[in-house]
Amino acid sequence: MKGTRVLSLLLWLCLMYFVGIYLFVGGFLLVRMEVNRTSTCGDILEPGDGSGDFCGSQPRFRRAVLIIIDALKIDFARFDPSNTAPRPYENKIPVLEETLSSRPLQSRLYTFRADPPTTTMQRIKGFTTGSLPTFVDVGNNFASSAILEDNLIQQFGKTGKRVVFMGDDTWESLFPKKFHRSLPFPSFNVKDLHTVDNGILQHLYTTMMGDDWDVLVAHFLGVDHCGHRFGPDHPAMADKLTQMDSVIRSVIDRLQNDTLLVLMGDHGMTDTGDHGGESQKETDATLFLYSPSPIFPAPLSQTEPDVVPQTDLVPTLALLLGVPIPYSSVGQVLLPLFSPHGQTGSAVGGLSQLEALWINAKQVNRFLETYSSMAKDIPPESLSQLQQEFSRLSSEYLLTARESRLPSSHLVSALQAYLTSVRDICRATWARFNPVKMAAGLVLLASVCLVCFLMSELSPALMREKTAGLLAPLVVALAVGACAAAAQLLTRGYVETAWCLAAGAFSSEILFFWRVCRLSPPAVTKNGAKASKLSRWLVLRRLLTPPLMVPLLRCASLLSDSYVIAEGRVITFLVLSLVIYIPIHLNWNGLLLPPSPDPLKSAGKESGILLACLGVLIGSMYLSLSFHGCREEQGFCQPSPFLSPLSRLQDSQLKNLYYILSVISLGVFAYLLRHCLCHYGNLNSSGGAVFTARWILPLLSVCLALHWAVSATPEDSFRKLSELIRLAQLALPRAAFCLLGLGLCLIWLDPLTVFVKARATSSSRSSAPALPRYRASTGISPQAELRHLIPQIYHRMRRSLEDGELSGGIEADNRPTVEAYGLGTVYSAPVLLFWGMLGVGLLLLHPEGMALSFLLLLLEMGALLHIHASSVNLSGAHGASTGGFTVPWAPIVVWSLAATQFFHATGHLPTFPSIQWGAAFVGFPDGHTGTFLPALLVSLNTFASHILFAVGCPLLLLWPLVREVRGSRGGRACGEEGEDAVMEMRLRENPEQFSSALLQLSARYLFIHGVQVFSSVCAAAILRRHLMVWKVFAPKLMFEALGFLVSSTVLLIGVTLVLRVDMAVSRWFKRLIPDAAR
């Protein structure tokens, strides 16, 4: 048994996958820390003169109207009178041009440049916080989408301005309870062009005429939806834009002198009407400013900027309306709106350009200092450069202010340059995809999938190879990685870990490919010499068999948002199809029904078992559909009633019913496990594993049932016992955790479940099959005992064989024989037990109703194992087995897809709002201090089915041996004594085949999961401009990648457990043989 080699190869594979995922995600997911501080009027910015900066002067405007027209591209707003044949989207908003030419001091039109990702939610975040939102804003609250960062709406509220909102209901979820009055309309249906707009128009004018508001926000969605549905070049767009034109006219007519109108688009659209990416068509929106009183000191001049970044709106609006600039804003004020120095006190009022810039620069500097103390993702050298620049500017400004001389225009432009460079650096850090990294990650993942496939096909050869396994690739990888680091240091002055890792991974992979090429020539020439074309065709046909077609379909389905949304049902459909394929395929090969019934009666029975298990499997899959949760995209879908915890149920009778159901399924779960172990005679000895199975597992289940009972009791029903209940809520789950840990440790330390009974009789060989005197304490009939628990004569037989070879000459007779109970399932019993303990432990983290789902999971796994074993037996009975312990693709594919199936059937979904946060508080009802423990609990809860299926994966290899039909294979392996069931002891006879089969199984399992990760990575990379990328594909990618991480880690643990058992068995034999030879 070359355990270390198997493990190291698998570890290497996993590491390659991780590096690939890390590289891609590093380029794709933009991560930023949220600063949870807010600006207030009283803040004193450094270096200051002691007085508050933000609310010091008289605000320029009292009120503001913010009209956001979703996807109002700059091309829509421009008016070109010379264009005689305008397209449907051109020249449809003439009001802007008319206003600009007739009232140049009151209005301006700018190109409003958004930062990618150009999706509505991120944009709303952008122009209210003044920051550059990324996909993952690491804050302290994942569960809701509410904006916790300091933002304009919050500042308005704090300074007593009444904010009235109407339109897109995204705002309502981003700013819950922040509005004075709110009229949200559903934004979900992209096909609906009018509901939101008409809803706004019903209320907009009456609200404007009233006096119950200071800031009015109206978000129109029609243009965006029209773009998504018809594209910009369509008559419907012309109608919509004309409607908007009349809206703007009416709003301008109703404005008062102290009010500022801000009309803007949040992003643009491509020629097909989509958005989300970073092309100029998507980022360039409209910004139109207007007030009935003159706001611009001069008409439009050449020096004014043409393009305004979206972040700049925040400080400008804040200073114009006299509220503090939000803490994390990195925008710079829009200078033309402020008077040049020296005119401060004139009719215009408000701050001068230099003062506004100075406040702005101080605020940005404060944010930069806070952020760099929290996170390290801004390059340090550029940070220090910025700080130097700021201190230089501040001393210059203070000098100017002290001498109260006229400031040079040089200072203004220097401050502007400082603000621009801050924003550029932030943008480079947060808001840009890194296509090189993404491509490298893709290539690496693709090649690892190939390596994985090769490894699964060539595992026997890899095991046979004499040269030392992975030392060379490891050394090469380290060397190349170090070289890459050194090169980076020399050329750029700092080291980026991702590239060093990538270099190492690539080099070790190339080495592996080279070795495989050198390894395979004999295999290739055998087929290839005859007809290379034919062999290639054969390979292709082998890849198109249903077991590989199904994962292919699954991967293809990850590229479509509708299929990702319906993933739970799609995956059940695919798994079901593949499961039905197994007996059909057997029948096609003529193996399901024996041609003549008499010689092999067992075969008929075997197919009966197979069909019965198929029924159980399909039934549990069908039932599992009723445990699904609902995504918000699935319109009329009701989440499963079992998903909500019992404590939320009002009806006490229903509560009792659910509780009893859950407890019964938990009981059945534990009983089935125990029964299985008992059936194969693994509960007779007195080791750690047996102790766990006998005592800890039932105790754990009891703990769990009590915990459910306690947590479901309503708070006010038992006043007197409230202390006790609180204690129980704390103690029971913690006790369960401890029991779980203890049980797992015991299994690990003492995994043997073999009961040895020395028989002092000098029985000869012929008397061996006689009924043993000893009866296992499990209370089953002697016949069953004879058939299954079998006094394992194997050992005696083996010893006689060994002795025959090694020492020779010793008579086989007159030696004490040994019976070992449960030796036939010595490998699978600990794995099964480990699995069961984990299952009960993970159930603890789920809502009570999920016990039913876990029971279904157990049934499905068991049925699948039996089907697999039966089909192996049936093929074996007809001499059609392939030899070795190879596990075919079909069961592995079902196994790994079932992990995703039960991910959905335990109420999880690949979206962030659907994460079951309650899991973090099991056993810790008062919350946590750190972040590690809650993160661990939540991820254990989320990936429970991945964990269970990965840890149970070795069972696929072991189960056919456990269920082997006596006399079928025995004839080959054991010569004349073939009638004895040797079950898993066969693995010890062929350690080489065992390890290669184990490697193959794990590599295949990793391959199926890896290919799914690869395809969701592809989906994210290809569809990064898709409307749904941040809503569907990116979360799917995260869940798929994390699921892979968890699965592979747990798979390694499972394999290690098998190897650990193997070691223990070897030691046991070593101890036994001298013992017996005495």
Binding site: S560, S562, I565, R569, F573, L576, N587, W588, G590
Partner: protein
């Protein structure tokens, strides 16, 4: 002999295909408001009824069915009744399978049941006609070396293609194209996958016949 059989089979399939075509066209002429998508249930009934009648008639006329051992009326009657029973059971079986594949259990039972009748008339009925009411034989025929005659091979191909076609017919359902034939994402197995079935079926069977 061989040639003759292939000819007979080709003409049989041509007739059945024509009958499906007629079952689509003739109601469109005579029944007001008939369309394949609009009144899909009616269409499905028409198709399955026609296919049932035509195939029973043809196979009976050609005398493909295995020769009966006894020629008594009672035996023939029992065979007939058993065939009817099998037909009904197969409808139930397909209903169960379709429900297990995700169709709603009761909500649109009529649609699901019509699909199962259609599938039965395309698969089980043919088995009944060619092999007689004997499940053991059916199972034997659907194995690699089970096909004894060209009719058996043909049966294998048409049945497999019908089922695959129906399976593929479920694929467009989750897509959000908002077409009338995409009932809703909760109805996984609709009744309109027959086009797929027939194209598949015909394509495959003719493709396969040429080398023979």
């Amino acid at each position: 002999m061989w040639d003759h059989e292939i000819k007979a089979m080709a003409s049989t399939h041509a007739i059945i295909t024509a009958s499906v075509f007629m079952a689509t066209v003739i109601p469109a002429v005579f029944v007001p408001g008939f369309s394949v998508y609009g009144t899909h249930l009616l269409w499905v009934y028409a198709v399955s009824g026609t296919v049932t009648c035509v195939s029973v008639a043809i196979f009976w006329l050609l005398g493909i069915s295995p020769p009966t051992k006894k020629h008594t009326l009672g035996y023939k009657l029992s065979r007939l009744s058993r065939s009817c029973l099998y037909f009904f059971l197969s409808c139930l079986f397909f209903y169960t399978v379709v429900v297990l594949y995700g169709a709603p259990l009761i909500e649109s039972a009529l649609e699901t049941f019509s699909l199962s009748v259609l599938l039965t008339s395309l698969t089980t009925l043919r088995c009944l006609c060619v092999l007689g009411p004997n499940v053991q034989t059916w199972i034997r025929v659907f194995s690699r070396h089970g096909a004894m005659s060209v009719w058996d091979t043909c049966l294998q191909i048409t049945v497999a293609c019908t089922l695959i076609g129906a399976w593929v017919g479920a694929f467009p359902i989750p897509l959000d194209w908002d077409r009338p034939w995409q009932v809703s994402s909760s109805h996984r197995k609709p009744t309109y996958s027959d086009w797929n079935q027939w194209t598949f079926e015909l394509l495959f069977s003719f493709h396969h016949l040429q080398p023979v």
